[in-house]
Symmetry: D3
Subunit: 310 residues, 6 copies
């Protein structure tokens, strides 16, 4: 089961402009083969199907717990896309009439689904607009093979994120990327260490892939400075403690990149404090939440007040 | 963000036999167009992208909170599939040598992926073996249209579940189905009431679809008796209270089917107590978690003990 | 069986320019999940498979007859795309040599298939270029569920059309859209009324979805003025009369939007008079119908004359 | 536009048993790459997009008119599948309770979608259960290439039908096949003749492909005896006369196989008289049209009577 | 089995600029339904599965041998795409820092996968970015039908190539196209002749499709002048001699287009001499082969030297 | 470019019976995500797109050369499927008339495409019948990431093969599997060594995955005894020598499993001697190569004789 917290893992700045091209490219990191839908669902299904779970509990706990963090990652990548599609709007936007056709000068290469299907919000598709598919899930049941897969997946995801970073300077996208370079790095190292305990092969020495540190990106640097690369969050009221011994000991030097060299890896007993969800203005042209939403907002308002009184 | 609880929404009985045919059919309810992956992801993406969220908060809270319950539903459908694939085994199963070919007499119509790809565990695919796809997500941003979609989706899902019920008498499958008839009924009614507040149209009078009560199935009856059809769980440490006024008032008579007629709908401030995860024996022929897993179990055991000492 | 009439439901103006961007966006309304291929095929397969058809004949007749109208809708959406791709050309276009590369400055975001695959004509794909798929067909056999689906489908289709309207001011596209706002409205109301007879739930009060009248669009207004929103065409030499009582009585006031308020819904005993098919000039660069088609045109001409003599 | 006739091209015998395996295999001929969805949609889109249509009218008329016949072919293949899924049932079937699970002993290799999704009726999918897709449509705009494609498509379709014929002896399937061997043969010859007029290449000499006559199948023989192989139906109230000169002259000897050798090809000015639609009994276990449909049948009955009085 | 030669069938000029739009369009000719992946795999699987191979050996040898040439064709189409993506770069390109975002001004309609997924190189996808699929393979086992398919496939491929030619004037693309017009012409004629021997139908008279000679393209002309249209290469150390009698005799006049009229078709006993592989510079922004590859180049260099000493 | 040798890498025994169930399962190893189409195409596209190829030549040569061997692997997996579908037949099989329906008692769970589409031969699809897709190709351009991918791919492929081994005791399948356990092991070790040279991480110590030796399978044992696990074949007339230093040195002890412990890895300068292609009888019911093929066999025979005289 899952409890949901109505916050993002980290707060994102608003996009300074409506930026559908960035939104389209970032979709790859949500619904592509190496997107966060894939990390979420790979680890989720591996945890569902793990055999002899009771006897290999540290590995189970590690995978199940990282799966939980990945839900926050589909949330933040979506928030980044939504911010790019919203731009700096804060109020209900009813500029333009139907007849004027507010979107008639959109660049022809944007993802049409953002306008036609989703009311300018993120969808579980990649940068082609092709849907995420369950065939991206690898869950073989063999522990070493699944961990090797996960190690590869995290590094493939990092590579693609580094490339998308170079395709946009939108701060809503880059802040999300900076955060995920660091958090994805934690997951890659966690799987490397799990493999090391099982095989003796020093997978962590292969990192980073590609051979370029997180600190190259200013947006990642501030999270390194805050020591986020050292923390694995335990995302459960009472469970998954057993992952602790895998995420422990001194962080490898190449990994810390001069930030807290020699520090200990830490299994933190709480979720990150996180940040507020981005504000998404209503838009008449998208009928989101309605063309002229006063009436439903009034209804909602009454219900809302009633809720507060409960 | 998400916190994960290492329990199922409800405990399932073990499948009395290895039952790959039931497992294949139940896959439709996990990865098909009307499977739980669809309910989970539809509501999740609708909640991510909702515009003017602050002003229509009760509807936001309702959708976001039901999304959280759906995670438990992919979990329990997967658990049911996994139980069918495991059968009554409790110990590591190393019967048969490679050469004997333990699977050479499988019925030819089972889903090969359960044996070749996943080590006898659930995958996010449908009963054809075709993957769940992000194109099943409908998130238009228009509040009424999204709610109408959700109402339709829940009823389509119910119809398919009633049909799968008739394709198997496996108790691991039927217990899951009985539970979901009741919980899916809660969601259908919740979306009906949300539409009623916004449009005045009495959608709840259309229920049940098809016109056959939950109580037709003994496995559902016990959950009706326990009053589960009256409860919407608030699945969050601190959020989503605002959904309360939508899920309130007297339950419609057709809905209660004689179980607690006239009772009030209740927004419960906690997750269900739930049940233990099913035990899944290791299987040598699947190399899950390994062909001869003693060594890795010993490593895990040491780590596990270390974890307990923390 | 089907008889085909070589006319469009309504005549479209020629596109004033070659407009591949509009053509691409309009493809969503042909081959997307909510495109006219979907309405055509959903109702067609529901009519093929309806059980106890003889006993629920009014509903059968309604669905089967609307299916017939949808063939005209894939025709007119295709005609609109073809007009955008053709532009104002009327004669065979052999400007430019192969070597010059007449298409080398196409905007990079157009749908390449329009140039590479189809000779500048419509294909059953969506705005991503992804094909329409039979998985978009919902035909459960349960009458209420199928009608609910159809009601949802029509409203989803309307929402997407309203959005595409705002993406283009091309008159070939907007005239088609204006016509389909009205005709789609007829179908939505027809399914609403069918549900009302069966369940007593006043589905028609939910219309329009989104809450914006057809009359917002000048292109729809002229069809409202002509009373097309009141007419359901019987598209059969001798069959489907039984749908009449469903499409009868006074039109709801919100539905008529001030056009013929209080008027009666009318089941018209004929197809619309319709309009001429659009002219599509031959194009050398597309080899459509040939690079230098004189020879085949001469052959065709002889056959044509022979035909007239028959 | 299209007018619909509520009859099948030819009447089919009822399947003597519930035969889901035949139903599954026949799906290939409906929704597969060479199924009737493909012939219908290929010719339909070619006719929509044909350039210089006025100048190559005989070819346009031929393709547009054959497209119209193909609608009857998706209808009859669907009817054949529906008959196999229905079996000899004639009354509403409410045998078995939910709890008994009437489908729990289905062969594991049937197409689950026939039971879970469609209420035991045909869907636009192939024998794998994979959906028909718009990517099966070839419409290049080049007349010779499109005709060559169509000639190939018809022969590919014939080959697959001959193979499915050998996979079943169900009369509902074989009667449909016998009919389509003859009608598909007409279309193959029509495209061959069209190519011959344009290129001088004697494509008709390549027929039949494979080299096995229709008369090998008793079910085809009776249609040969009735001379159906000589007739092309004009399926339009007023249009498509211009195709006549292509379908004229003496039928090739290999083609007639001794049935009416030396006879003239005939462009018939009417649709086939056709046959009654198959009766499909209601089924409680499928909730089609409902679990206990008395109430809706009564409503429908009243509407039906009202219709007769109109 | 296969032996690989590290050369292209013909040498390509470098693209004078980074040209991602040309690269995207050319992808259709690699991974589209009519791309070289399709010709390669169709003929390969037909050769794998041919029955009575020993008795119809000339046809087997023809198809198997043409399959071998198609490997060189996926190679050269890929090389053309890679050249467009590389542009005139010759040295390692480390211009721009991560932070600058070298790709932030890419046209929005390029194929994102070229930047995000593949490090600026070709992938087996079409111009939509959709993957080549095994469903494009037609291998019926019926010899005449397979040959007819192949004849159609080659002509469909030619049509699409002629269209892509008009979408770009990039010499890396056009040189490839000129070469393949000629080689594809050889294959089309070869299949035509095979069909002629079996059926007596003069398929070669239908060529070229579309009716525009290769010589229209200057890039093809030089290969016609060199007589490449007359040669079928035997691509095997010792096998496939038996195809010779099919590719023999005088070339048809329309086919030679005035180049070597009356010359004999020639089955050449060797592969083409071919050309050097294109040089692809390393790119820091793509991390291809690494962000700062000195270290791995040094390692490779040592290994390379060691290899030379062997 | 490629030269083709008309032999299999190793000879397969004939299947003792027609075994469509084995054929279906083995398809996973041909057209599934971890099938030989994937290994072939991954390495092929990586070699096509490698940047700075001249400077990292040993790695280029390794990947390009292994790609060449994979062609032989799609060949042998296909041959194994074809053998299962053929059974022990050696002569043209014309038993049974069309009317008898020779396939009407096929098990319902076989892959219908083997009978309907392909004339009882292999297709590039997986065990669901779903096509291999180009999205299975990973070619990032980053050398370490691509090698890591390839290492993972080979181990995933091995795991699935070990599982399919247990699903059949058909010698045509098991001999192929035994051969590929050994050859896939060579490739896994080759990629491990390549990674070791670049990163110092001892990847080869992770092998085998799963932890079960090849020698468990008698069919693999004989190839181990013949020392095939020590040999990498150079599959090129003149190229790819530079891969030698990667495949050199002493074979790891766990890898040799007691077969030639301490032996040196060997880069063999030739293809394997291989085995004869399997004989596939003609089948009337499949029209492969024809229903009654005498005529075309006679034509072929004449051409064949002519070829021998050349």
């Amino acid at each position: 089961m899952m409890l949901r917290i109505d916050r993002l893992p980290v707060e994102l700045p608003a996009s300074p402009k409506e930026d559908p091209v960035a939104a389209k490219n970032v979709q790859e990191l949500l619904g592509g083969r190496f997107g966060e839908m894939s990390t979420l669902m790979n680890y989720t299904y591996q945890s569902f199907g793990m055999r002899s779970r009771e006897k290999i509990r540290p590995y189970y706990a590690l995978i199940a717990n990282i799966a939980a963090e990945e839900f926050g990652h589909i949330e933040i990548v979506s928030a980044s896309i939504n911010s790019c599609l919203n731009g700096p709007r804060t109020d209900f936007d009813d500029s333009g009439t139907m007849e004027e056709g507010v979107w008639k000068d959109l660049p022809s290469g944007v993802f049409g689904g953002h306008y036609i299907a989703s009311g300018q919000s993120a969808l579980p598709v990649d940068s082609r607009g092709m849907p995420w598919t369950g065939d991206y899930v690898f869950s073989s049941g063999n522990l070493i093979l699944d961990l090797l897969h996960n190690f590869f997946l995290e590094n493939g995801a990092r590579t693609q994120k580094l490339r998308v970073y170079q395709m946009t300077d939108n701060p809503a996208a880059r802040t999300m990327l900076g955060y995920l370079f660091v958090r994805g790095g934690v997951h890659a190292l966690a799987y490397a260490r799990a493999l090391e305990t099982l095989t003796g092969v020093k997978m962590s020495q292969m990192l980073p892939i590609p051979k370029i540190g997180n600190a190259t990106c200013p947006e990642a640097r501030k999270f390194m400075e805050a020591g986020l690369h050292l923390k694995l969050y335990r995302l459960s009221p009472n469970d998954y403690h057993e992952a602790g011994p895998i995420w422990s000991g001194e962080a490898p030097k190449e990994y810390t990149e001069g930030y807290s060299d020699g520090a200990q890896l830490e299994f933190v007993d709480a979720p990150p404090s996180g940040g507020d969800l981005a504000h998404l203005a209503g838009i008449a042209s998208s009928f989101a939440p309605e063309y002229a939403p006063e009436e439903i907002m009034e209804i909602a308002n009454k219900l809302y007040k009633k809720a507060k009184d409960l």
